[in-house]
Amino acid sequence: MANSYLEFERPVAEMTAKIEALSQMGSSAGINIAEEVEKLTLKRDKLIEETYANASRGEMAQLSRHPDRPNFLDYVPLLFNDFQELHGDRAFADDAAIVGGMATFHGRSVMIVGHQKGRDTKEKIKRNFGMAKPEGYRKALRLFRLAERFDMPVLTFIDTAGAWPGIDAEERGQSEAIARNLMELAVLRVPVICTVVGEGGSGGALAIGVGDRLFMQQFSTYSVISPEGCAAILWRDRAYAEQAAEALKPTAADLDALGLIDKIIPEPKEGAHRNYEEAARAMDEVLLQALNELLRMPVDLLLHQRQQRLRGMGIYN
């Protein structure tokens, strides 16, 4: 599959192509080629560092929804064994925008739940681009409760533009479904570890995002509204998304500065979308450490700390 590149990634893409072309010439041309390739590779590494480290918040928002970015289901085989997907909310439908089920994580049975945006057009449509309807959140809640009954820790993976804004979703109580999850996750009697792996889109993200730990991958974002949505309201023009992203401060570093997340999970230099395995390894390390910490805690202490954490959210005078 050919890689896709965002506008600001283009210089990196061009240099990568140049290096590849040069390497292919290698066998036929003189010995200096190898040296040249090495020089260019060093230059490219520096360029990558500058490109990603200095990305604006608007560019970070684009990175968090990069077309090549790993989906939840790309991570599942890299992080877990024995995955058994569990479908449906037992009331209305199975919402493919949220995937969940039981899996083994370093020898322990856990419940995993995540948004799934979809890779190709067909899958994207099936999964409604990762925008869940009430039945999706209710399926997630069913799985959270199942996990609680069988003392399984819960790991969630957030990657959504937001909850689906549709007539059907409203008719079936989109608000109620999200609200219910917030309330029940706050007191679920098992450890809950949440990780933003792409786009953390408002209430649709939060509905599977309340827990004992909140991690964000380096190039993920988490925001109350998308930069485009914010621009449309406050600037009355979506073209101001870049400015809106600056104002909203949605990056992992921003949330870390506000003390709202526990850790930034590092990504490969060029982002998770250029090396799924490396991205998964970094995530695995952080998740395992968190799980080990939480599994040692008595449940009352776990719940007390979770509620204290939630109660303390907010900055006012």
Binding site: E170, Q174, S175, L182, M183, V224, L248, D254, Q307
Partner: protein, 292 residues
């Protein structure tokens, strides 16, 4: 309705001074957004801001709501010391700080929420009322904190908690912190549940977005005012997303009741009696000795 008929027969030289969709009318006359009738503002206050002709429930200030909700001289306002901060240094075309200054002036309140403890038909209750006039009743850190304190005050006083919503949703200018107020308030709501204290939500026009998708829907009983717009996504956003015509009465209280999403629709004039009866039913617990 004699004032109305009198006025109808008089020559119309005074035009409505309120804007067409003015939520909190300030002028002497205003036009009912429901039936387009021109109404006399002072008289309308006597009707609790409900159009006597078409039963349109116009928006009403939080403090005015408290006035008719509580028994006379039985209530007190709390948590007046909380003021919004500007944690992100947010600036769009206007600075958040300046928006807050303007809103304080306009709404006569430090933020979009008022907390009370008082009696409704001799039943003590902790009540939080959204103030839509303050930045569209949007929920930021102060609103979230006030809801949490209102709930905790109910626990301390072993009385019901009533939340009356009127909000466009989360306050964008506080960024991710405003989103986290949804998690915070929903978490604290568990205390009421644990203590078996009634939590009643009264949804008024409008109740949208982050407020709708958190505390507004967590009550044991959920009531709404007639015609109130209630939903997760705004109608315009939905229209743009799905590109279909929205059904008649979409996201109105009556539509929600038809879809099984709320318990009942209660006219403003009946709310005191209705709420006190709800509290009485939920507080009596004739089987309590068996369950504890």
């Amino acid at each position: 309705m004699s004032w109305l008929t009198d006025w109808m027969n008089s020559p119309r030289k005074i035009l409505a001074s309120g804007k067409k969709e003015s939520p909190t009318p300030e002028g002497m006359w205003l036009q009912c957004p429901g039936c387009k009738e021109t109404l006399y503002n002072k008289e309308l206050h006597g009707y609790l801001m409900v159009c006597p002709r078409c039963n349109e429930h116009l928006r009403i200030e939080a403090s005015k709501r408290a006035e008719f909700l509580f028994d006379e001289a039985s209530y007190q306002e709390f948590d007046l010391d909380l003021k919004p901060a500007d944690p992100l240094g947010f600036k769009d075309q206007k600075r958040y700080k300046d928006r807050v200054k303007d809103a304080v002036k306009k709404a006569g309140n430090e933020d979009a929420m008022r907390n009370y403890l008082g009696e409704i038909c001799a039943q003590k209750a902790s009540v939080s009322i959204f103030d839509f006039a303050f930045m569209g009743g949007s929920m930021g850190s102060v609103v979230g904190e006030k809801i949490a304190r209102g709930m905790e005050r109910a626990v301390e006083n072993r009385c019901p908690y009533l939340l009356i919503t009127a909000s466009g949703g989360a306050r964008m200018q506080e960024g991710i912190l405003s989103l986290m107020q949804m998690a915070k308030t929903s978490s604290v709501a568990n205390q009421l549940k644990d203590q078996k204290l009634p939590f009643v939500c009264l949804l008024t026009d409008p109740t949208m977005g982050g407020v709708s998708a958190s505390v507004a829907w967590l009550g044991d009983v959920i009531l709404a005012e007639p015609g109130a717009l209630i939903g997760f996504a705004g109608p315009r956003v939905i229209q743009e997303t799905v590109g279909e015509k929205l059904p008649e009465g979409f996201q109105r209280a009556e539509f929600l009741q038809e879809h099984g999403l709320i318990d009942a629709i209660v006219n403003r004039g009946d709310q005191r009696d209705y709420l006190s009866m709800t509290f009485r039913h939920l507080m009596q617990r004739p089987f309590a000795n068996k369950t504890l």
